[in-house]
């Protein structure tokens, strides 16, 4: 742990109450950043979910699909801190099912959260980040949480594939845009493999309910066997990659993608 690597920086993390978002908030806090997270939960639920981070992390109840909520989130960060150097677009949901049974409504919902949310957050925060970015070494940094499912296809995951693939290329587009315009903002995507998060556990339970496996542990065992490193990732391992991309050590990284999957997509 390199304490202070993000000292003096303000970071905003969507979906920050659980899993990767929570770990990213904790990690950046450890490295000296001022951290504000957003999620859907009420203030009091957020306080409980943040646990020992609650006293040190700001919270905005906001839905990433709601433009008004984004305006409020930006206003909160601007009023409270006057700057934003790091934006982690992490909030996301999954969706599984054969393509002919997917409902348009569900397709639109995953696109709204996983894609529209990243677009709106970026759109709203970029003007402030363009100002703040000139204050810090390596500039401001947007880290978009995609997935290995944004790199390769997977059966019965086509909607999630499409949404995470969109995040990957959206990130490259804005990276080139900021760089050519001389705006001090870098943008990179992170592509976690299978991570031990509430989202994964819920997904595994759904597979079990569908009769794909007898119990969630069978699916965990199968994932472990399919991963060269032989295990699932822990959220803090994804958080470390996010913190690296957020900070000054990644000053020449923009438009890049960081795959953190224990070798899964190398096969």
């Amino acid at each position: 742990m390199s304490a202070g690597r993000l000292a003096g920086r303000v970071a905003f993390v969507t979906g920050g109450l659980r899993g990767i978002g929570h770990a990213a908030a904790a990690r950046m806090l450890d490295e000296g950043a001022t951290v504000i997270v957003s999620d859907l939960d009420s203030e009091s639920d957020a306080h409980d979910l943040l646990g020992d981070l609650a006293d040190r992390v700001g919270y905005v109840q906001a839905n990433v699909t709601d433009e008004g909520d984004w305006a409020r989130a930006l206003d909160h960060v601007q009023q409270a801190h006057g700057a934003c150097h790091i934006l982690v677009n992490n909030a996301g949901i999954d969706l599984t099912g054969t393509v002919e049974t997917l409902e348009l409504e569900d397709w639109r919902r995953i696109m709204a959260i996983n894609v529209d949310g990243v677009f709106m957050g970026t759109k709203r925060f970029v003007p402030l980040m363009a100002e703040s970015g000139s204050e810090v070494e390596g500039g401001a940094s947007i880290v978009n949480v995609s997935s290995i499912m944004g790199l390769v296809g997977y059966a019965e995951v086509s909607a999630y594939n499409a949404s995470k693939g969109a995040v990957r290329l959206f990130t490259k587009g804005i990276a080139i845009e900021f760089a050519t315009k001389g705006m001090p903002i870098r943008a990179n995507s992170v592509h976690p493999g299978f991570v031990e998060t509430p989202l994964l556990k819920a997904g595994f339970q759904r597979w079990v309910d569908k009769g794909v496996a007898e119990k969630p542990q069978d699916l965990v065992d199968a994932m472990n066997a399919a991963t060269p490193m032989g295990r699932l990732a822990q959220p803090r391992e994804i958080a470390a990659g996010i913190a690296f991309l957020a900070g000054p050590d990644a000053s020449y990284m923009t438009g890049s993608e960081m795959v953190i999957d224990g070798g899964w997509t190398a096969q």
Binding site: G173, A175, G182, S251, G255, G263, T265, A266
Partner: protein, 260 residues
Amino acid sequence: MTERLAGKVALVTGGTSGIGAGTVARLRNDGAQVFFTGRNEDAGREIAGQTGATFIRHEVSDVDGWADVIAQIRDALGRLDIAFANAGMERGDGSVEDISLDGWNGILAVNQTGVMLTVQHAIRAMRDNPDGPTGSIIINSSMNANRAMGNFVAYSVTKAAVVALAKSAAIHCGNQGYKIRVNAILPGVVETALISNLIASNENPDAMRAGYAGMSPLKRMGEVEEIAALVSFLGSDEAAFISGADLTIDGASTAGMMGL
């Protein structure tokens, strides 16, 4: 100084100049014990004096010399945790139409076989670490692995080849149950002494500098220190689940087209 790599022992090939030398300094600064190899003894001694790293005179393509390199590290510190397969060159390169067989073979010997030997010997050393098979190997590829150059066929081909080497080695280590990670980094144009000298000796240095800088939408070359920072991250336990990955670090040079 940080303690991120405290207790770790690292090997950097091609450590006497450019990205290699910058990485020697960075890994030392992050608390690692560092050995580095290369051909240039004067530069090796100077960098060793400045950084406290240990220079071993060795060329990566020297097959017989490898056992001695690893033996020196193990005899001194009993372990190897990080290997940066960095040595590379483009001398004798050309287009596919014009390159000589000697030129081609010379570049393959260093950029491809030399990297394979580095990874092979690093895995064999890391396999025997006192706390079990652990370590991190980083291969220095290039953005040209994904975007080939017409007048540097051997360089482009070898840099693409070592990305596949990283992935194969990562899968192998996983299959064997080794906690040894293998990744490739793909830098864009980096302002090494080699590039600076090329620019300085050109009859129109400003235009040449602008040409290199303009390859990135950031309109600047990467700095040695920026590449070294990524190597340090991948070498550290922070990257514990990153293996078989190829990481582009090129100021968005290959992220797409710059537009008009």
